[in-house]
Amino acid sequence: MKYHINIGLEVHVELLTQSKLFCGCSTKFGAPPNTHTCPVCLGLPGVLPVINKKAVEYTLITALALNSQINKNCRFARKNYYYPDLPKNYQISQYNEPLAKGGWIQIKVNGVTKKIGIERIHLEEDAGKLIHGTEVQNLQDKDWSFVDYNRAGIPLMEIVSRPELASPDEAYEYLVTLRKILRYLRVSDCNMEEGSLRCDANISISSEKGKMGVKTELKNMNSFKELREGLWEEVRRQSELLDRGEKVVQETRLWDSRAKKTYLMRGKEEAHDYRYFPEPDLPPLSIDDNWIEKLSASLPELPQQRFERFLKQYRLPEYDATVLTDSRDLADYFEECVKLFPKPKLVSNWIMGDFMRLLKQEKLASIKISPSGIADLLTEVEKGTLSIPMAKEVMEEMFRTGKGVTQIIEEKGMKQISDEESLEKMAQEVLRENPKAVKDFQKGKYQAVKFLVGQLMRKTKGKANPQLANRVIEKKLKEYK
């Protein structure tokens, strides 16, 4: 690649507050249109905004986690533009006095660690949603559009990176890392499908390192994959222009995921003049040191720190630590298990294996199997009560029913036969029933042992402890006259 790439991301996430940013309406997703609205979020004449403290708190927590500097006297500003999903035709946002400035996120791409600078973090209200006539069934006149204001006023946090991402892959990794952090902080569920995470990109290329080219803004990437694809396509388009000796024009472009192309949305001269000015309905927000200190103290361990600790404290391979720290809930779950069954690698194997496979369909918070259930299960395996395949079956049952290990073993009569005396009796029978195999053994064909052990397992319906079965067969063969 002969060009240097500079990408900056503007990430919007909906915060997980119970109520909207400036009124008491619910933020729950998926309610019937316009049921989560009130005079304030509908922007009726005469209403005034009242700031949601929790939303400010979530933004502060994020700022602390991203090493940003909190602006102790920040302000809201009005961003003025006309669109039917915006009830007041201005959005209460922040302009030159955001809640936090600066900071960085550490990402790792192809084994190389890199710090990506954060420009700013601010808080704003979301807009509603337009539903166009063409999307509505049984509508005669398809020219009409409808507005659902349920989303209007939901708190949005905007995190703007510096243009320091040097490839679409770095941009992808940045977004993944940021999402992981935000989920750890429990400030957003960062669900791109439900729109609780949205991402626009600025991208420019340049043949000289350290020099910025003309940037384009890229919108409408609806998944992590599309972000990477869209950016690569834009790199390709811009490279071709420069190759041909043409210039990149500053403009906003839309990604079309079907055509895998970017299209012009609006040129620089059509860019909005948002006529920002300080929001007169809200006094400046002053954030006192006590609050910041309290939030700092309650900040959870972040994914990177936790990953490193897992390597050290539990001596896990990097792969295991990466998987286990992918979400805060999973890491918590793992640690709970290890507390009760202190063999980290064994626990890790079980969690990363069947547990994760079973988890696919469910949320960790709502599953029926508890860490102590896992610990009980592994204890039984260790004692030899359960074979590995048995344990897997039990785990599935625990997932499904929430029953305890002992109960399942009893109900299914699954106890492994580890009682030597009764096994010996059965081994004796096996030898008697298979004289040919015994003869083979006596001729020196060791293979026959395997066959006889298999026969013993069959006789016990697989419940025999495999090592024990082996030993008993060998012993009986030697004694066999």
Partner: protein, 487 residues
Amino acid sequence: MDNIYELSAHEICKLIRRKEVSVEEVITSQFNRIEKVEEKIKAFLSLYKEEALDEARQWDKKISQGKKIPPLCGVPIAIKDVICIKDKLTTCASRILQNFRPPYSATVIDKIKNAGCIIIGKTNMDEFAMGSSTENSAFQITYNPWNRETIPGGSSGGSAAAVAGREVPIALGSDTGGSIRQPAALCGVVGLKPTYGRVSRYGLVAFASSLDQIGPLTRDVTDCALLLKIISGKDKMDSTSVNYPVPDYLEYLIPDLKGVKLGLPREYFVEGIEKEVREKVMQATKVMEDLGAEIEETSLPHTEYAIATYYLIATAEASSNLARYDGVGYGYRSKEKLDMIGMYKKTRREGFGDEVKRRIMLGTYVLSKGYYENYYGKAQRVRTLIREDFEKAFKKFDALITPTSPTVAFKIGEKIDNPLQMYLSDIFTISANLAGIPGISIPCGLGRNGLPVGLQILGKPFDEKTILRIAYAYEQNTEWRKMRPEI
């Protein structure tokens, strides 16, 4: 009693408590008066006769049962049509809201209702409170009860005229640059703009958010103090309202001015002010001196920039505040079936009047890229200087005395085609809004053509009690409070 409508609110309260009149009699008397003179004044956009009488009878029932009644029980009140009352038309005298009924009430409405007031109707105003003559109403012109050829002032002209015409004893108005005080002056009544943050703005349809305040219009200072106490206080629905104790203003109403230091800012007695206005105000200061006040000339050096500053800040905020009237969710929408932009344009073209459009355009311009710093930014800095002028003056003085308006009521149509001339009628009231300080206008005599002259008293932030005290002392020692238009 057939002249109850002549009484002030505190007198009505007294009679009701003594059971000398029933609430129903009060309301009936008021509506009889309205039926007689409203045709000539045209102060109201809505009247709620049946409802008001129903409420009156309910109070009477409670009174007869010996139940406890609230402080302003049975007092009729009129509300400027810029304040939301649940399910009642709230038009802001604009076509764009001509059918708008808010699903909620302003905080002040809840407060006056809890205090026992009976809302009898909503009053005319300049569209969206933009104007100084009430001629910018989309629906009707209101006439000054003193002389039907003249305007009542504005933008709370309907409220001022209704109080002056004894259609109602007290009313609420809103004041962004003088919209309570100037019409009060021109109609010969008392009008007070509280400190910014003293009264909740929740439910007041915004014109310029950093300047708007709701306040009382009454026929005497006592009523003004009574009503102010009811509507004041921190409201959790308005983040700009301030948690500062609300005193019982009545306790401060004493009829002398011993030890009170008053300043006369020389910038308020300049060219362009009518001779009679100056004379009346100067005579008033003599009265105050006789009552024990110390009076001295002073200076507010940045006064000359107030109007320019105001018309940058107020229009900028208005351009954004009025953006919501777009025909999408409520209010007027053009009947033509157009695309989105077409609907916006046509709706706003048909829905807004000229003055509102003028201010929206001006405000949009001053916030635009490349102009913001030179206009809005600079205006904010000058605003700070104006505020500092007052802070300095208030280190020395308890209050400042000025005329409320440079002229008495002018003729209908006289300034409607000359916006700059119209803007100048607020020259003495605007600074108080920019500085956020309280101001009261009280009658101080008759000027040119026998029309009322208003005296303005400006006070320190949250020191409404002092300006009320000064106003009261002056009022009690002069005869102007008995002045009534002949209507």
